[in-house]
Symmetry: C2
Subunit: 568 residues, 2 copies
């Protein structure tokens, strides 16, 4: 394509509303144009990159026998009521009412719809397993759309859904998709961490996230310094550094008057020690039971872990009045000593604490020198906190490290949550009714573009990895006339007839301007044609990523370019 016929509206100025480099570069290199908060048009170059990613996805899905289809964006509310997800997801869903005031959801995901198709259209276990996918605009009513296409209201997703008769078959497809996703992101030029993840609103039993490491990412990847362990914050297990308590004397318990001191800062000031010296005591309610949960003062309880360990459906902090009734004191004065008939559940961070400070379950009083075990009976020590720097790997005991990243893909084992509610049930060989076992597999196509840029850029612009580059080569005649024009045209035609995706900058602009634009839009290989080198019978090839320059004869160009496309 010739630049003059294309539409690549590059801009020098950094857009004011862009906080992160990928957003800035996507606007500056003419990939996107903002219509409204969280709504972007993909301009031609941006769409070309999207299509490259889609092609990679389609190729890898096809290798795993996944089948493409296309479901409607509009979904009737009724089907979301059937799956019992309407309430849970209502807040983040965009909805439209038709002229008869029937409500439709603008699809944020399609588990309900594909399950309905399978329930109606597959009538024998012999047709299974099947693994479907589509690539489509999805919608989310974000509270605060930001970071360009990373957190948008309308975005492009690949969403896939598998149906199997047995757990083994289902796990085989999960494994297939896990592998395919690794290949896809690698081909996209992304460095991804694959981490254990929470199943969230999808439900189900197992999940992995593919997170592109990037300093600006909204997600945190917790991983081990030495072994392969990796998980997101929600799910990350941890061990706590065991301080030796040998030789540390357990001092006598002392009651200390702390009038009106409920806030952490007041207490740390008063006791002249950091929050690590305190044991926080939180009163939680399960479906029926009450628990007192202890954790070191500087840490936070991960309620998902807590709920999971306690085998409760829901778990909530008790209200102020209930706390008074249970502990006998106001919120802020709760402590582990003297709570009758309430099990004390302690985070592992509490295990080695000595001479700690806690509330006394009496207003305006705290205890000093609390030693769990001596002063109160701990029902169980569990890993129920979020990991922090200094925590250790649950597998190998080496240090945990924390990295930021952008979630670009996620795979889930869904079990029978949707199939049983939406009647996707088939008879097996023994004529027993079996609700189908599902998996779901998503890739954020549009945010993958941003993630690629976060990982592949320099101060001059984007550096596209070869497979996702909108063009592999840009031909730059320093002046587009006379002999240079003739050679440029010849080279452009030759590249095109050899199926090399090539852009020619045929504009009447200064060479410096053209180079800056070529760097900004990030085309991997420049072919530069100037008077001086042409007099030597040569043209220049310059690699965007390394800056490396070679002079070669035009006759060797095609071979050289093909070699570079394969090797870069």
């Amino acid at each position: 394509m010739k630049w003059s016929k294309a539409f690549i509206p590059t801009v020098k100025e950094t857009p004011q509303d862009a906080d992160i480099v990928s957003h800035k570069l996507m606007v500056r290199s003419g990939l996107i144009h903002k219509l409204s908060s969280g709504l972007y048009s993909y301009l031609p170059l941006g769409l070309m990159v999207i299509r490259k990613i889609e092609s990679i996805i389609k190729e890898e899905m096809s290798k795993k026998d996944a089948i493409e289809l296309l479901m409607p964006i509009l979904q009737p509310k009724e089907i979301w009521l059937k799956s019992e997800r309407y309430e849970m997801m209502s807040e983040v869903m965009l909805k439209a009412n038709d002229r008869e005031n029937r409500e439709f959801i603008l699809g944020p995901t399609h588990e309900e719809i594909i399950t309905d198709i399978v329930a109606h259209k597959i009538d024998s276990y012999r047709s299974l397993p099947k693994n479907f996918y589509q690539i489509q605009a999805k919608f989310r009513d974000e509270i605060r759309p930001r970071f360009g296409v990373i957190r948008a209201r309308e975005f492009i997703m690949k969403d896939g859904y598998s149906f199997s008769m047995t757990q083994i078959e289902s796990e085989k497809i999960y494994q297939d998709m896990y592998e395919a996703y690794g290949v896809i992101f690698k081909r996209c030029g992304l460095d991804c961490a694959v981490i254990e993840a929470d199943t969230g609103v999808m439900g189900g039993r197992k999940s992995h996230e593919f997170t592109a490491l990037a300093d600006v990412g909204e997600d945190t990847v917790v991983s081990c310094k030495s072994c392969t362990y990796a998980a997101n914050m929600e799910l990350a297990k941890r061990q706590v550094q065991e301080k030796s308590i040998m030789g540390i004397r357990q001092d006598p318990l002392i009651e200390v008057s702390t009038p009106g001191m409920k806030r952490v800062e007041e207490l740390t000031d008063f006791f002249s020690c950091g929050p690590m010296c305190f044991i926080k005591t939180l009163i939680y309610k399960g479906d029926e039971k009450i628990y007192a949960v202890l954790i070191r003062g500087d840490l936070e309880v991960n309620e998902n872990k807590l709920r999971h360990y306690l085998k409760e459906q829901v778990i909530n902090l008790a209200e102020a009045e209930e706390i008074i009734r249970i502990t006998g004191a106001d919120v802020g004065f709760s402590g582990p000593i003297g709570l009758k008939d309430i099990p004390l559940i302690a985070d592992i961070s509490v295990r080695n604490m000595t001479n700690a400070i806690t509330g006394a379950n009496k207003n305006n009083l705290h205890y000093k020198n609390v030693n769990p075990g001596r002063d109160c009976v701990i029902y169980d020590y569990l890993d129920i906190g979020f990991p922090v720097t200094g925590d250790l790997c649950p597998n190998c005991n080496d240090e945990l490290v924390f990295k930021r990243g952008i979630e670009v893909g996620q795979v889930f084992q869904l079990g029978t949550k949707y199939s049983s509610k939406l009647s996707a049930v088939l008879q097996n060989e023994k004529r027993e009714d079996v609700p189908l076992i599902m998996g779901c597999y998503g890739i954020g196509v549009s945010r993958t573009v941003a993630a690629i840029i976060e990982q592949n850029h320099d101060e001059f612009g984007i550096i596209w990895p070869m497979e996702t580059a909108p063009f592999k080569v840009i031909v730059i005649p320093l002046v587009y006339k006379d002999e240079i024009k003739k050679t440029a045209d010849m080279i452009y035609d030759r590249l095109r007839s050899n199926n090399v995706e090539v852009l020619m900058d045929d504009r009447n602009e200064r060479p410096g301007f053209k180079f800056a634009d070529a760097d900004l839009i990030g085309i991997p290989i420049k072919v530069i044609i100037g008077k001086k080198t042409l007099q030597e019978g040569k043209i220049e090839i310059k690699i965007r990523k390394t800056g490396e320059v070679q002079k070669i004869s035009p006759d060797h160009l095609i071979n050289k370019i093909n070699e570079l496309i394969t090797s870069l």
Copy 2:
């Protein structure tokens, strides 16, 4: 692809809610599945056909230097207020409100959005002309979704928009698109009429519709029996057969008492003659003026034509009270005689009427033997009616014929309606501000699938034209085992390695069942492998369209198939 790995849920039963053959066959051959009224999933085979059509569109657009991009589905209400189309289109638009209660339109078309992009991103006339397009889901809140994907609430459109500095440039692109659309529909295997059309809610100066002729179509194509004239009903011009009035005596005007007779049936009964003997008199109001419009009793006034001829912005029938004030009589007793200061505008159908019946502008009275010219002065005779059988071509005077069709594409010259309202204005070479001249060009991609089927089917199923067939060849082993399986696998592999799109029916089903499915889903070429022909060292090729069968040696298969793909 092997059938066992594919998802082609064919059904024998005709779906109950399907009225037309394309809808029935799309469901029966497993192309679509209904989610809700006017909402369909495209199952794998249906999506493959959609993708074929999209590829054809992209190829032809690329030949004309049109540039693909992708705009958001969600469009802020504000931009529709700016273009002053919100009120006009509000009724048919689906809308979603976000969490801050801002209203968004689910795009039915994208003139506003592309004009906004051009206004922001093109800053010099030297970048023009540009012609953009996208392929995307579109939305319409249909009163009565019907005919499967033909009138759906969510459908796939190619929509294109051009921007030029001059009318000449703009018309050049219009002509390019006109030609490209002809090629696209031809390649899709469609027989289309290209007709002059109304610009409707798009506004603008000129438009053509591409209408696939089909008995079930909702649109009527009016065309000449002998010359190339063609138009839609809204726009079709006509001449009326001139009966000779030589020798017909103009009888004296008679007042006839017609107590309470306002309805046509009462009057035709009473006078014992058909509606063709009556002149209807309709009182219309323009912006300021009042008109009495006369038309033969069996015909309808085309208000668009009337408005256009009278050069009025709006034209409306007068209310009952105004009619009494203007004519002195109730609605139903209006007539041309005695209306003071009101111009009588007559349709050409009135010109040769003699001794007609009209209202008398007095309650309960009609006139017999009204002769325009003798009894009242006609201000002008105009073509302001909808054509009917028997009307003549405006160009050559031969008969007009009426055909039904499905509108699959439309091109519009928009002028500066959107560019001037949305500030898409550039300076020309003389530094004068010029609002850009626009065109827009649409193809209904999903309804094109239905139109192809309407024109290409028989009692056994679909007969795909080669270019839109999901697979070009289906390999049918009569029994998928032993020697037949071996040959079938070999042939399947050989076709695939020669890039022939091939489906293999590897199911354990009876031959008759497989043939019926192959006919139903309409694959153009069957390659049939059976024991008997195999013993002769042959396989069979059967053409779906003609039923023609040939036996050939497997060694000649690839050549034969390539020959058939080119020639069919």
